[in-house]
Amino acid sequence: MKAADLTVSTGSHWHSGAKITDFSYNTLLALVPAIAMGMYRYGVSAAGVIGTAMASAMIAEAAMQKLLGKPVRIADGSAAVSGLLLALLLPANTPAYMVIVASVIGITIGKLCFGGLGANPLSPALVGWAVLRITKPWAGYLDFDLALINYDLGFSMQYPLAVLKASGALGIQDFNTWNLFLGNQTGGIGASAIVCVLGGGLYMVARGLVRWEIPLCFLLGVVIASSLFRLVDSAANADPLFHIVTGNVMIGALFLSTDNSSAPINRWGMVAFGLCCGMMTVVLRAWSVYPDGVVFACLLMSLFVPLLDKLRASTIVVRPTNVQITGETVEGGTSS
């Protein structure tokens, strides 16, 4: 028998024909509505968080590439996108030092230590966010109810997922799903502007820069898992629609989980990845200590991408029954 093949290398990538710069600048463009909504809602402090995150991500990328003796490629915009995605998940008044720590660790440890763009197993923005999330003394700044206590935007300023966590389905009766969908909820600067994120994401899908499988299956996974939870206990669990229009699900489905190098490249891999991300999100929302589970779900599933990439359409084709094995070709066999 053949010995186990333990060679590891950077995964192959699905190619849209676009250049890295096209992808990055189109992502930035697609996120403009969400940025605009965030700045309209939370004012200059939102702009400060976004600017700090993008600038520190790009400076960290340039400095680290210089240190590692690689060509400095901040002009491709990938660091800017990572910084922006990180900022959109944070509350508008996150202190600057937290933003800088998160984006610098995300870019240096999460991306360049693994070989730079295309070789990172996890999305840099998510790594940065997770570092902040598990730093206990800073937890108050990431708790939307505490962080945004001085804002009154004319709608319920309670973080919907925190309410769900605290008082179950009864507590969230006051939230109007349509209102939530329009972005009338507290949350991250951009992540809470659900309709804007959806619009930007549809633009990315329409341009072919984001494949439709992952976002669709992500949302499908959320629906499946939340329906199951609701079947078991409808008093403690919210309906699927509530899960989709709150927290980071929309930005997670369209922008976070579709990060180029930490998502699968084959269709069935993408389907499995999306479904698992979505289901894991609801599981974490229901059972973890954190109100939202999107980021940890995406991080966890990104670690399975090398396995999910082995799911290929050709391996589940039914093998024809009477194939003459001539020694030259075997039809319908596995191809890899």
Binding site: G69, V101, I105, I109, C113, V131, I134, T135, K136, P137, W138
Partner: protein
Amino acid sequence: MSIFKEFTKGLWQELPPFRLVLGLCPVLAVTKSATNGLGMGLAVIFVLTWSNILVSALRKVIPRKVRIASYIVIIATFVVIVEMATQAFFYPVYEALGIFIPLIVVNCVILGRAEAFASKNGVVASALDGLGIGAGFTMSLVVLGGLRELIGAGTLFDVEIMSAAYRSHSFSFMLEAPGAFICLGVLLAIMNAVSAPSSS
């Protein structure tokens, strides 16, 4: 004096966690503070030195086929001594290190030195080897623990170094498990960069 090279090699050339990348389990787990790192390191020095001496003295007696089992018995004896001693005289350290004191038995640095060095060399050389490797191990633990404690809690050996403002909002990520991995990785990268300049 070539015999002192057996001692000094453990301090840099064969520094266990960083150059040999051995014994990482306690390195990652107990370095939440410099004090814990020091306590763990001293325990390892004791066990390593005495197990090296005994293994070296018995190297002609122990049959080759059962040598690993014999080494484990020798190491376990000294680990039990350390465990009882810390429990009796340094109870806070015993509490802080917890399961990781008994786990010194399976620390691959100690078995590695018994197998690779003490079973082939004389008693004096083995004792110096154990002291040197143990000192290097302790040094690494204290550096890693100190760094993590300083950044993660703002203290060093439980002395408050940083201001109260820093300590109340310290970057406690460094005290978590991922912080240990990242801190170790960064230190490893720095040491490799310092000791082996790139050939290109």
